[in-house]
Symmetry: none
Subunit: 157 residues, 2 copies
Amino acid sequence: MPSFKGEYEHSVDAKGRVAFPAKLRKSLNPDAQENFTLLRGLEPCLYLYPKNEWEFVEEKLSSINSFSRQGRTVKRNFLRYAEDLTLDKQNRIPLPSHLKEWAGIEETAIFIGSGERIEIWSPEQLAEEDASLSHESYQELFEQVMSDPRPEDENGR
Amino acid sequence: MPSFKGEYEHSVDAKGRVAFPAKLRKSLNPDAQENFTLLRGLEPCLYLYPKNEWEFVEEKLSSINSFSRQGRTVKRNFLRYAEDLTLDKQNRIPLPSHLKEWAGIEETAIFIGSGERIEIWSPEQLAEEDASLSHESYQELFEQVMSDPRPEDENGR
DNA sequence: GTACATTGTGGGGAGAAGTGGGGAATAGTG
DNA sequence: CACTATTCCCCACTTCTCCCCACAATGTAC
């Protein structure tokens, strides 16, 4: 199954709508039917999961113990900022204002295909993230991660 | 299965299109059906994977944990600069402008068959890379890499 | 050598994608 | 209940991508 890839910069209009990139649309699983879940990422960006991939995330979440302090904390703070949304007839998504503000997205949004999910960044936050990653350190990290078999972690999403 | 080999120099036209070398075309797996993924290389060149080879790369990527910091950094920075593309009816590929600029490719592109993938270089960057590799150091490196059995690393792509 | 096929190179334009606005329908508030 | 705010639907325009065409150069077969 093809995964999301590429970087696309689009305008966010006055109503908070932004076009979902046509090339990313081609990588959507037909079962997902343009239904997504959008939430805060671990960096200052948003994570956009199509429905079929979000189901794996929920499966993982449901295996967490809701009665442990750690489990409750993770579930609460992961899910409280999540929202379901769908593409409109012009293939745009409405960015909820609380998520847009949190990620610092104003007039421009950058979509980054990252395998099973899509990240949505503001140009400023992305530039900061990029500035903190040198080519040398990326190269080392790449070689380390790509040559590391680590079969135990293979279902992490 | 035959692998890509050889070096071919072609013109890039004003629309960013460049002919895919006919001899490399003969080494394509018919299953790939002229579908490719193009991305930034680790050196200042582009990597072009036919679909069937890219699938192995994606398989490796999907085994990386998207919730670990290292995992998500690698996925983001590897996939954000990747794009799917297909040959047109004249067997040309459209080089996306962001990749073309990054690799310093202007009016001429050099294709280098490198086994399971193809590298695309600008003449200037290739000349620099060549200048920094003396025949002696290449010879040593060659003997070291080719005489090192290391079967664990053989799936790296 | 010639004739034909294949490969490489460049241009025009139709259709897809991106962008923005108005107004109807729905949800929220007092 | 009435009023306001938000969401959703539809439309229109601009820009970009991709399809098609044509010609020149090179390779292959006879």
